[in-house]
């Protein structure tokens, strides 16, 4: 080891070498970018979160640069980032941490009233009273409060074939961004199939299981809930459509189906997502079953 120059880096390296039993730490593989001499001019950086900046390759000497670029373009996973020893490079690390920071905000966001108004959705509430309670008590997110039960009983069409509801779930952005796009697609599809539709509405602080409680009042054949998925690091606006045949108390996730990851940011787009939902609804009605039971029936007969 070349330790003539005593600096902090060298000391750190020495300690690392001691820690590593085999002592075989490679000399630095790529030099960290030199600190610009003219810092007086100030620092004015481009936004690292922009797509074009995210896609920059970090691998020092790739075997096939063009090929690596192509590989990276097939997925939104953080590939081609290179390394600093066994660790990520500085830009990669900081961007990851920035993404985590922005994701924290999605969880506490709210669904825009405008979005709800545009489709004439009224709002009801689960038994959850605050966002922190929502996170800690999913059981309460599966039950309607009393007032909401009364509102639904009063305002909703009963016994439709299909009831659509919307819930914020864990990402308001998912509803804000995708609901306005997917809702017309689903409506078109269901109307074209001549299905009778219930009165749609929005549930604040909802969990998937709330469809059981809702359907105790509405008695639809199929209930679909469009709900915000928990936000991911890169994609914080993915929406799911969970649905079931005649949901009622006691029904579980084994009795449900889901179309997930609906987003315009690298998942299933709203047009396709909407088509899947319509297809699943039709299938559920055809076999009068959902979840595992649907699979069994569809497998037997189709």
């Amino acid at each position: 080891m070349d330790n003539k120059e005593i600096d902090i880096q060298a000391i750190v390296k020495e300690i690392m070498a001691e820690l590593t039993q085999n002592g075989a730490i490679d000399p630095p593989q790529e030099n960290p970018s030199p600190i610009p001499e003219q810092q007086q001019a100030g620092i004015d950086l481009p936004d690292p979160s922009l797509p074009e900046n995210r896609k920059k390759l970090g691998v020092a000497n790739p075997y096939d640069p063009e090929g690596l670029r192509n590989l990276c373009s097939t997925t939104s996973a953080r590939l081609g980032v290179g390394r600093a020893g066994p660790r990520p490079r500085t830009e990669t690390l900081l961007l990851f941490q920035a993404d985590h920071a922005i994701t924290q905000d999605a969880i506490y966001g709210e669904v825009d009233q405008e979005v709800l108004d545009k489709f004439a959705l009224f709002t009801v509430h689960s038994q959850v009273e605050s966002r922190v309670q929502y996170l800690l008590r999913p059981d309460l997110g599966r039950l309607l409060n009393e007032e909401s039960q009364a509102i639904i009983a009063e305002r909703c069409e009963k016994n439709p074939q299909v009831q659509i509801v919307v819930g914020d779930g864990l990402s308001a952005a998912a509803i804000n961004n995708n609901f306005p796009l997917i809702y017309p697609v689903i409506m078109e599809g269901l109307k074209a199939a001549n299905l009778s539709l219930g009165t749609p509405f929005f549930i604040k602080n909802a969990r998937v299981g709330i469809i059981n409680d809702i359907n105790e009042i509405i008695k639809a054949d199929v209930v679909v809930i469009l709900i915000g998925e928990r936000p991911g690091l890169g994609i914080s606006d993915a929406m799911s459509a969970y649905m079931g045949w005649q949901p009622a108390h006691g029904k579980t996730d084994a009795d449900r189906d889901v179309v997930c990851m609906i987003t315009m940011n690298g998942g299933t787009n709203t047009l396709e997502g909407g088509a899947f939902v319509v297809e699943m609804v039709k299938k559920t009605l055809k076999y009068q079953a959902s979840g595992i039971a649907l699979r069994e029936k569809a497998g037997e007969t189709g």
């Binding site: 075989a24 490679d26 000497n61 990276c72 953080r78 290179g82 066994p86 996170l135 059981d139």
Partner: protein
């Protein structure tokens, strides 16, 4: 049964063993959600104090859910070796803790008594242990298993290459697999969580991973974490599958929520032995995690640590190749913050090892939990020092399909380097052959997915 103590002059009494176990648990938001946690820190300590004096026999006689009502209880109880049980049944939990920690107690001795233990005993002793206790005891217990390669050998740390993609694009998944392999991730398994559970899509992913494995002659195994019935259907149709996967929960009712039963798993196990593409004899991959039963409303009043131990008891029936807890996955309603996640990771690893299964850990957190990447890096280091068999390798730790953060491809290499560990020997030899690793350290060529565009 009387379960009472005084502590600091105050009397505490507990109604049942189940209640005692719950109140003796370290603070977990899931137990609070279920309304079964200790009401004060002192009450928790009183419960631990009483629990330390409960015998193994009492715990066997008081399973979290009665035999008549629960097949998981029956599976675990029927699995007990009566000879060994008779030797240890009068031991108290506090004594079991000391016996596990004693320098005279060897790995072989612990492996022997494993066969006389039930889940409630294992969860009970975990509740009496500090984090370092859990580590010292678990470190002693070596469990290995074999599919195409051997997991859990001393001196190794393995990695599941987890190349998930939001729409299951085979090209996108392959790109991540390449990147992971170039960092040394994938010696444990190349395992994909599918977004689409359909037979055709799942089969396509099995075919694709099988093709990568054969093209590059990689000593490893493939897995697609679809529902077990989908995999069984694929197996029947001759799709190349090395490992069968299923998520497990600790009660019959919770497993029903997953659409599985002991009967179904038994059937899958038989099919695996008949049709899997791998060498065996260990064909199963299971995932678990504290809070699963409660999330299905099927915890039956038991605490989440006890329910988790029951998953391992069920897993043992199928001689799995790998089992891991997905420790921070479900969310803050079960494990609120990094303190709880860290504790649970250490508990689960210890309990799995004491049950006698090769245990890894998906050290992870969700964006709605009070935790950061630093916290799971810490947990991974702790677990590596205590002999955890494997972690996940996810591109930069960001799972773009499951929406959570886990350990990364970089972490795989870092943990090995930090603690002087190696991949599974055949896999390391394979990497050396390709020039991606030398003496256990990545070479200049490593960390470059395009390396695998050569073939």
């Amino acid at each position: 049964m009387l379960l009472r103590t005084k502590l600091f002059g105050k009397t505490y009494e507990f109604g049942t063993i189940k209640e005692l176990l719950a109140k003796a648990n370290e603070e977990k938001s899931g137990d609070r959600q279920a309304g079964i946690a200790a009401e004060s820190a002192a009450e928790r300590m009183a419960a631990k104090h009483v629990l330390a004096h409960v015998t193994l026999e009492t715990l066997r006689q008081n399973p979290a859910i009665p035999h008549e009502r629960d097949e998981v209880t029956r599976v675990i109880d029927e699995g007990v070796n009566e000879t060994i049980y008779a030797e240890i049944k009068s031991m108290q939990l506090g004594e079991l803790r000391e016996w596990l920690l004693a320098d005279t107690t060897t790995s072989a001795m612990i492996r022997r008594i494993s066969n006389g233990l039930t889940a409630e005993m294992i969860a009970g002793v975990a509740k009496l242990m500090s984090n370092l206790d859990l580590m010292i005891a678990a470190k002693k217990i070596r469990v290995t298993a074999h599919c195409n390669t051997t997991i859990g050998l001393p001196g190794t740390l393995s990695s599941r290459n987890q190349p998930n993609h939001p729409t299951d694009s085979p090209a996108g998944i392959k790109a991540s697999i390449y990147e992971g392999l170039s960092f040394g991730s994938g010696d444990c398994v190349i395992g994909i969580n599918p977004s689409d559970d359909s037979l055709s899509s799942v089969s396509r992913l099995f075919e694709m991973t099988h093709q990568v494995i054969t093209t590059w002659k990689i000593p490893t195994q493939n897995s697609v974490l679809a529902h077990i019935t989908t995999q069984m259907e694929a197996l029947k149709r001759g799709v190349p599958i090395d490992l069968l996967f299923q998520s497990l929960a600790g009660s019959e009712k919770a497993n029903q929520g997953f659409g599985i039963s002991v009967g179904l798993l038994d059937e899958a196990y038989q099919m695996a032995r008949k049709y899997c593409n791998s060498n065996g004899p260990n064909y199963f991959y299971f995932e678990t995690g504290q809070g699963t039963a409660l999330s299905a409303g099927a915890h039956e009043g038991a605490d989440q640590l006890t329910m988790e131990a029951r998953c391992y008891g069920l897993a043992r029936r199928y001689h799995p190749f790998i089992v891991n807890t997905v420790v921070g996955f479900i969310g803050p309603e079960y494990l609120y913050d990094s303190v709880q996640i860290t504790r649970a990771g250490l508990e689960d690893h210890f309990m799995g090892k004491l049950t006698g299964i090769p245990m890894g850990c998906d050290a992870c957190y969700t964006n709605h939990a009070v935790a950061t990447q630093n916290d799971i890096e810490n947990l991974a280091v702790l677990l590596t020092t205590t002999g955890c068999c494997y972690f996940m390798g996810v591109p930069m730790g960001d799972d773009i399909m499951l929406s959570y953060q886990s350990t990364s491809y970089h972490d795989t290499a870092s943990l090995r380097q930090l603690l002087g560990l190696r991949p599974i020997p055949e896999f390391e030899a394979w990497m050396e052959d390709l020039g991606l690793m030398k003496d256990g350290v990545l070479t200049e060529k490593a960390g470059d997915a395009s390396f695998f565009l050569q073939k």
